[in-house]
């Protein structure tokens, strides 16, 4: 009985900081929300808890990011309640498990909205589950702030209640790498490129976008194949990629296949000059653990948050996380940061408008930029964010932002160092 499902739609991006401005707004917003008297509302008389319903994948295939999201939400709830809650109302989260199943997620949001009668909802994990859930929310007029559904089909629905809490739609994950390569002088650029892609709505399109731009710039494609989801054995695929001798490999990966791909490359002693992996390589704790600390050197990826992120609020977030859950900041998954940022958005809307109901949220978030842990966010009418990511690279065992140059923490390391084995 093969459960052929491993769609860990892990949308990890980075973003450029507008540090002080963001920090100032954040602090201001937080302070303001503590003051209950805002124009045109009477929140001080309403001290019932603000119930927020969330369906998360706590078991099943998406359980790891699901639990990371839970930690992010819980942390936000704790922190905001310490400051007096939202508009004077203590935040109460009702988190239920959808076992990573779309049927269950539909049931859950129905239950949350019509049974438990929550005030607000946040999105579940992955675009897979976000799409059916967002329809339920739309039907009842609920805003749908969601940290993990960034695939193109989410925005193709043209629903006005969706807000994807990441800097850009997921398919733009590789564009910043293309920016970097194409910024190099022509004689330093790669001549040939390979595109091994996972059959996944987030992995393959990222590589395809890069391929379009590379081919337009004259970089020849020597390998372009999609491999099935749940491919545990990347050996044959890497064999073929290596045989094509590409200068740059743009790998549309998710998590497990990224580890397997790196290991296969090491075993087959194949080391391209540039290696970009759309996912998996941006996890600060797991990646070095799975492929070997020294083997990470030089691998590119992109994301929206990592523990060394330069975005304002990161240090406070890490400190609060460590205080609540223990451990050092290095193991924090960016899903937690994205979940935390979802809560921040509610706070900011409340601070600005004095209200925190669904109609207000839907109306307010469609204009302006909103500073969060994952960057300054703004959305178009379909809920797709308007920003872009930052290119990160593994240097000396840590992730560093390397492009664009004005926000880089370190210049890019090329060519890719040899595998350590």
């Amino acid at each position: 009985m093969a459960k052929l499902q491993s769609h860990k739609c892990w949308d990890k991006r980075l973003r450029n900081r507008r540090g002080t401005a963001a920090a100032a707004l954040l602090v201001a917003g937080v302070t303001l929300s503590g003051c209950a008297s805002s124009p045109g509302s009477s929140p001080s008389s309403d001290s019932t808890p603000l119930k927020i319903g969330i369906s998360l994948s706590l078991t099943g295939d998406f359980a790891d990011p699901g639990k990371a999201a839970q930690r992010g939400y819980d942390l936000w709830a704790t922190e905001v309640n310490k400051r007096g809650g939202v508009l004077g109302r203590q935040v109460e989260l009702k988190i239920v498990d959808d076992t990573s199943s779309p049927d269950q997620v539909v049931t859950n949001y129905q239950n949350l909205i019509t049974g438990d009668k929550v005030d607000l909802v946040f999105g579940p994990f992955s675009s897979l589950l976000t799409i059916p859930a967002s329809r339920v929310a739309k039907r009842y007029g609920y805003a749908f702030i969601e940290p993990a559904g960034g695939g193109p089909k989410v925005f193709d629905q043209h629903l006005d209640n969706i807000f994807f809490v990441q800097p850009a739609p997921v398919v733009k994950g590789g564009d910043v790498f293309a920016d970097y390569i194409l910024s190099l002088p022509a004689d330093q650029r790669p001549k040939t490129a390979a595109y091994p892609k996972l059959d996944d709505p987030f992995a393959a399109p990222i590589a395809d976008n890069v391929k379009q731009r590379f081919e337009a710039a004259g970089i020849r494609t020597v390998y372009d194949e999609t491999y099935a989801a749940e491919t545990a054995d990347m050996g044959p695929i890497v064999t073929k990629v290596a045989a094509a001798k590409p200068d740059v490999v743009v790998a549309g990966t998710q998590i497990e296949d990224s580890y397997a791909e790196v290991k296969a490359m090491i075993q087959q002693k194949f080391n391209p000059k540039w290696l970009f992996m759309s996912n998996g390589a941006s996890s600060p704790a797991d990646f070095p653990d799975k492929v070997g600390y020294a083997n990470t050197a030089g691998i590119f990826s992109s994301g929206d948050w990592y523990p060394d992120s330069p975005i304002a609020g990161t240090k406070e977030f890490i400190a609060a996380y460590a205080a609540k859950y223990g451990g050092n900041g290095n193991a924090i998954d960016n899903t937690s940061a994205e979940a935390f940022a979802s809560g921040t958005l509610v706070e900011l809307v409340a601070a600005k408008t004095g209200k925190a109901d669904n109609a207000t949220i839907i109306q307010t978030l469609h204009s302006g930029t909103w500073p969060t842990l994952v960057g300054n966010l703004s959305w178009n009418a379909d809920g797709a964010p308007n920003g872009s990511y930052l290119l990160v690279q593994w240097i000396d065992g840590r992730l560093r932002t390397v492009y664009p140059p004005d926000t880089a923490q370190h210049p890019p390391l090329t060519p890719k160092p040899q595998w350590a084995g």
Binding site: M1, K3, L4, D98, T99, P102, Q110, N111, G115, D199
Partner: protein, 311 residues
């Protein structure tokens, strides 16, 4: 069908028809939709796995065919909202006819090998769903246009559609069971070679129930796709759906009319309840496994036959 049986059936469905008008919260209806859906699936499976004695573990593929059919036809526009329901009979017929060659091949094997062959067919169907991207959308899935039903009564048309399909499955089960085909099936179930030797049209009757079963399963899949609104290959063609159907049939009693319904009525709410309340801890899986094992060991015949024997 005896008069008593007809009265029972009428009362049961009559009650179920009235429920949406009485019950307020939408989530109850949501739960009922899934319960009735699985009752229909289990009843359809019962034709092949219960009455014919061929445990098909690949039925989820037919569910998926129906789902994709609806998704492909109704991607952009559902007219007044009832168009998908009207096309269901056609989908059912097409699938029923299309599976005949497949069924013929598969039913050349017996019991365990048959089960494995049907699982294999399921994987093939799932792989096709992933790979034929121009048709199925591949891993990105396909969407179905939202139904223009008013929000207060949104779930009702889906509920009644599922109810109608359950009624169809049960009526067909009764019709087949009480006919000569039913006798032939009983013979096939006990000892196929002897039946063949005695002159029973073994192949014909097996193919008949397989086709009917597949057709109904496909129709239910179509309604499901319309209800959920967005389908992916691994959920439209999901081995766990098959396991659900099979388990409910076993629990209630194979080759009985009401067994599958009873099984679904117990397991679907239990599963939803477990997931909603206990899901956060991994005990959910263990609970499921424990229920499984207890049923198998204590009630190998299923509830209804055990009760009947006890009388």
């Amino acid at each position: 069908m005896t008069p008593a049986g007809a009265v029972r059936g009428a009362a049961f469905f009559g009650a179920l028809c009235v429920v949406p008008l009485l019950v307020g919260p939408q989530w109850v209806l949501n739960l009922l939709i899934f319960t009735v859906m699985y009752a229909g699936l289990a009843s359809a499976w019962n034709l092949v796995g219960g009455y014919a004695g061929y445990p098909s573990l690949g039925h989820a593929a037919f569910f998926g065919f129906g789902a994709y059919a609806v998704a492909i036809i109704f991607e952009n526009d559902v007219g007044d909202g009832y168009a998908p329901f009207r096309t269901l009979p056609i989908i059912g017929l097409v699938v029923a006819v299309a599976v005949l060659p497949v069924a013929w091949i598969a039913m050349r094997t017996r019991a365990d090998v048959f089960a494995i062959v049907t699982i294999t067919l399921l994987f093939i169907a799932q792989t096709l769903a992933f790979n034929l991207r121009s048709v199925t959308g591949g891993a990105q899935g396909r969407s179905i246009a939202p139904a223009p039903f008013p929000v207060e009564t949104y779930d009702r048309p889906f509920y009644y559609a599922m109810l109608a399909l359950l009624a169809l499955a049960m009526l067909l089960s009764v019709a087949i069971r009480d006919s000569k085909a039913g006798l032939s099936l009983a013979a096939v179930r006990s000892d196929e070679d002897k039946a063949h030797g005695v002159g029973v049209h073994v192949t014909g009757v097996k193919l008949l129930v397989f086709a009917v079963s597949a057709g109904i399963t496909a129709m239910i899949g179509g309604v499901w796709a319309y209800y959920v609104g967005f389908i992916y290959p691994q959920f439209a063609i999901d081995p766990l759906v098959t396991i659900g159907m099979v388990l409910m049939c076993f629990l209630g009693g194979r080759a009985t009319l009401w067994g599958p319904v009873l099984g679904a009525a117990i397991l679907v709410p239990a599963q939803q309840f477990l997931a909603y309340r206990l899901g956060a801890s991994q005990l959910y899986l263990l609970g499921y496994a424990a229920v499984f094992l207890i049923i198998m060991v204590l009630l190998p015949r299923g509830i209804l036959p055990t009760l009947r024997r006890a009388r």
